[in-house]
């Protein structure tokens, strides 16, 4: 689903810069806003995703909860997760969160990917996998702070939500947005979505949700999928939504300065050898050594 290459602003495993000639003007970045306070967990988004993307997961089993399929997979790019939490007043809350790729501004998957162009980021902020470039190493899975990408058993390629980059590219909203019956899912420019979220948060505060807020975590540079939460102070209550997601230090170390440093160390080692040879020279055995050896051998033969 490659968009026009001029729209790609970042490529995985690419040390040179992607085209930067286009000037991003206001509102060029898009975002999906998931209002968990309006969501009824109907899974219409899951079905729309399967239909638009022609995905069919297995008909599984019930593992004692509403969540089905049991987890994200190469065939399930979005999934409703359900949590039952008692609030401070003793009232039950059924927190339902649509899980899927967050389309981070600073994507850990893209950082971790070793295959040039297997993961790209468009100017509108969408992070997309280009499966024809994917080598199936799964490093993106380790790189993701939200545990989203899943590898396919069939083709060993990694898949996740594309934010319907194919639809968005031609001016349509993502399929899940179109299917949402309650308006819990909305899509637009990131600025507009923040504005909409602010209105929603005001309404929620009027309903006693003092800690209502927007989830747009700064640790990954913000996301292009954002949540309105009733309890923005307790994101972990929404089935382990990380409070402060960041690209792991391990990934930063591994994919950051360790790469050039590693190469430099290897090169320096080789160079050290080369210049040792030039300066000190080889350690050779000459005739005197052979004579000394002969001498010693004779002595040993005589005196066993």
């Amino acid at each position: 689903m490659a968009l026009q290459s001029l729209d790609i602003v970042r490529r995985s495993a690419t040390t040179s810069r992607s085209p930067q000639i286009r000037e991003p003007s206001g509102g060029r970045e898009v975002a999906k806003l998931i209002d968990t306070t309006k969501c009824i967990g109907c899974k219409a988004c899951q079905v729309a995703c399967m239909e638009w993307n022609d995905l069919r997961d297995e008909i599984g089993t019930n593992i004692g909860q509403y969540q089905n399929p049991a987890d994200l997979s190469a065939n399930t790019w979005t999934l409703m997760r359900f949590a039952e939490v008692e609030n401070s007043k003793g009232d039950l809350e059924w927190l339902i969160r649509k899980d899927g790729c967050m389309h981070c501004a600073d994507p850990g998957c893209l950082k971790a990917c070793p295959s040039p162009g297997a993961i790209v980021q468009y100017a509108n902020g969408i992070v997309d996998f280009q499966e024809e470039n994917c080598i199936g190493c799964g490093y993106c899975i380790a790189g993701c702070p939200f545990d989203i990408p899943r590898i396919s058993k069939k083709d060993k390629k990694v898949y996740k939500c594309t934010l319907c980059s194919d639809r968005v590219a031609v001016g349509l909203e993502p399929a899940c947005i179109k299917a949402c019956p309650t308006g819990a899912l909305v899509f637009g420019t990131k600025d507009d979505m923040k504005q909409h979220a602010a209105e929603r948060i005001e309404d929620l505060k009027s309903r006693g949700f003092e800690q209502a807020g927007l989830y747009d975590p700064a640790g990954v540079g913000g996301t292009h999928v954002m949540y309105v939460l009733h309890h923005a102070d307790q994101p972990h209550n929404y089935v382990d939504l990380p409070a402060d997601p960041r690209i792991s230090r391990a990934v930063l170390l591994w994919k950051g300065f360790s790469k050039p440093l590693g190469l430099a160390v290897m090169a320096l080692t080789a160079l050290a050898g080369f210049f040792h040879y030039i300066r000190v020279g080889p350690d050779e055995t000459d005739a005197s050594d052979e004579a000394a050896a002969h001498e010693l051998a004779k002595r040993l033969e005589k005196a066993p």
Partner: protein, 231 residues
């Protein structure tokens, strides 16, 4: 198993008919070494392809990215499997001894080719022994971390944090190993006669006397004792 046990070859090697050459590595040892070496080269090239974008082109040697990803862990396993018997063969010769520490302390004499000032060296010098230990440690690290990051079969059983740090450890071990091997290869180039030792198996008495005198002494003593005494 040790090169001191005299098989038919050894007897030949110690005999003057062989121009006074000593067999340092048997055909089996040489084969084993080069199997490890080849696996290392392939593992290193495929690993480097995945390590740095600038080297991704190396994946072309293996048939492209996916094949590189598929082959690399199997090559790694092959290296490990090949190294195991080799390590068993030479392990006992690589125990550090007091004279090795003295040898290491005199590293300046080592690099300046002043071997006459160094303590006598057995079959392997302290540098070679360090290489051996580095390889053992790195391969262990590579194996453990490699399993964790082997997405096709095993990653699913490890939490993300283990996989992430596994990848770091894998890269670190690989770096240390590659540098060690660079040193190892250079040492072979530097100390003339070493390449022949590992390609054709024999070294001259002078080479043995100069670089591994204690070992030379040992061989000669053993050879003298095993020869039938003239009545």
């Amino acid at each position: 198993m040790s090169d001191l046990e005299l098989g038919p070859e050894r007897r030949d090697a110690a005999s003057p008919e062989h121009r006074g050459m000593i067999l340092r590595y048997t055909a089996g040892e040489r084969t084993n070494h080069w199997m490890v070496a080849m696996a290392f080269v392939l593992a290193a090239l495929s690993g480097l392809a995945l390590f740095h974008p600038a080297l991704f082109g190396l994946s072309g040697l293996f048939g492209g990215g996916p094949w590189t990803r598929i082959l690399h862990p199997f090559i790694g396993l092959a290296m490990l499997l090949a190294f195991l018997p080799f390590a068993l063969r030479v392990g006992s010769e690589n125990r550090m001894q007091p004279r090795d520490w003295a040898w290491l302390r005199q590293y300046r004499d080592v690099v300046m080719n002043r071997e006459d000032r160094l303590p006598e060296v057995g079959r392997y010098n302290a540098g070679q022994k360090l290489v051996f230990y580095a390889i053992v440690l790195c391969l262990t690290g590579l194996l453990l971390s490699g399993v964790a990051i082997w997405r096709a079969y095993f990653s699913i059983y490890f939490p993300a944090v283990v996989v992430r740090w596994g990848a770091v450890l894998h890269a670190l071990c690989a770096l240390v190993l590659i540098c060690t091997i660079i040193v190892h290869i250079y040492a072979a180039i530097w100390v003339k006669g070493s390449v022949e030792a590992m390609t054709r198996g024999r070294v001259t008495r002078g080479w043995a006397w100069k670089h591994h005198r204690a070992w030379f002494r040992e061989i000669m003593t053993r050879a003298a004792n095993s020869r039938p005494r003239p009545d």
